[in-house]
Symmetry: C2
Subunit: 160 residues, 2 copies
């Protein structure tokens, strides 16, 4: 029997993508900006995804996982967005069905990160993660490479 | 006629206090912890003041002043408070009436900042600020001394 991950742990693999696969959905634009990131990785960000605008607080990597979301109205979003200058990401997210009921989230970056494409796949178990054979359109794996974490992309831009 | 400050600008003076004045009110306990502080000074904090628990986002000093408050429930406060470890301030705030309708906010710090007492007075105009004669119980003025700003106290502790 496959071992389920401990509560709150996500098992994900992340890949660079060189060529966009055929037959993409229209995708959903995502704009996110970091208000502040602490040395221990606690982050506070605002995000617009489709029509939804939220503020999210997330714990750092060494902590018990905490994620608190606040729905915010358009006025608050605009006011807070102004405070994220220099710490922003804009991308369009496409969902791509894979075998075995898996889904890849393909992020096509825009703005300062134009040209960067990443795909992330979440797995129900460690076994499923290890058994996964990436389809040909997935390029170099960057799972665990901190330079491609959203925080790092927002603060430091696209890795050279 | 006294010139009112531009919208959103606070005119304040801050003093150290060596001896607590007589006849203090009971005061109100304030616990605040910083979730994260950005390099440009944008800060996100949670605070419990009396029964009220709020999350606040504030702009940095070089920005157009923005301050957004979110009332949060006890569960969220507790979850977020856990993320502020090493970035906390606890104090009791007393309000002390002064001449000319002014009020001093006397903060008596506890915990890691035990022994520190500061008093802040907000003025309706620059003229009122300049004309102010501090009563004898106010000690050394630390207006503008960044080491005594709440951010710095929370991150770096009491100045030596």
């Amino acid at each position: 029997m496959a071992s389920a991950p401990p509560t709150g742990i996500e098992i994900e693999r992340k890949f660079l993508v060189e060529r966009v696969p055929e037959g993409l959905d229209a995708g959903e634009p995502i704009h996110q900006g970091y208000l502040a990131i602490a040395d221990d990785g606690v982050e506070v960000r605002v995000r617009r995804r489709g029509e939804a605008t939220v503020l999210t607080v997330k714990s750092g990597p060494a902590m018990v996982r905490t994620e608190e979301e606040f729905a915010i109205d358009e006025r608050r979003f605009e006011a807070l967005w102004e405070l994220t200058n220099g710490r922003r990401l804009s991308k369009t997210r496409h969902l791509i069905p894979l075998d075995d009921g898996l889904t890849a989230e393909l992020d096509v970056y825009a703005g300062a990160h134009e040209g960067l494409l990443t795909a992330e796949i979440e797995f129900p178990s460690l076994e499923a993660s290890e058994a996964f054979t990436p389809p040909a359109w997935l390029g170099r794996e960057v799972t665990g490479d901190k330079r491609f974490a959203a925080q790092a992309l927002a603060l430091h831009g696209r890795p050279g």
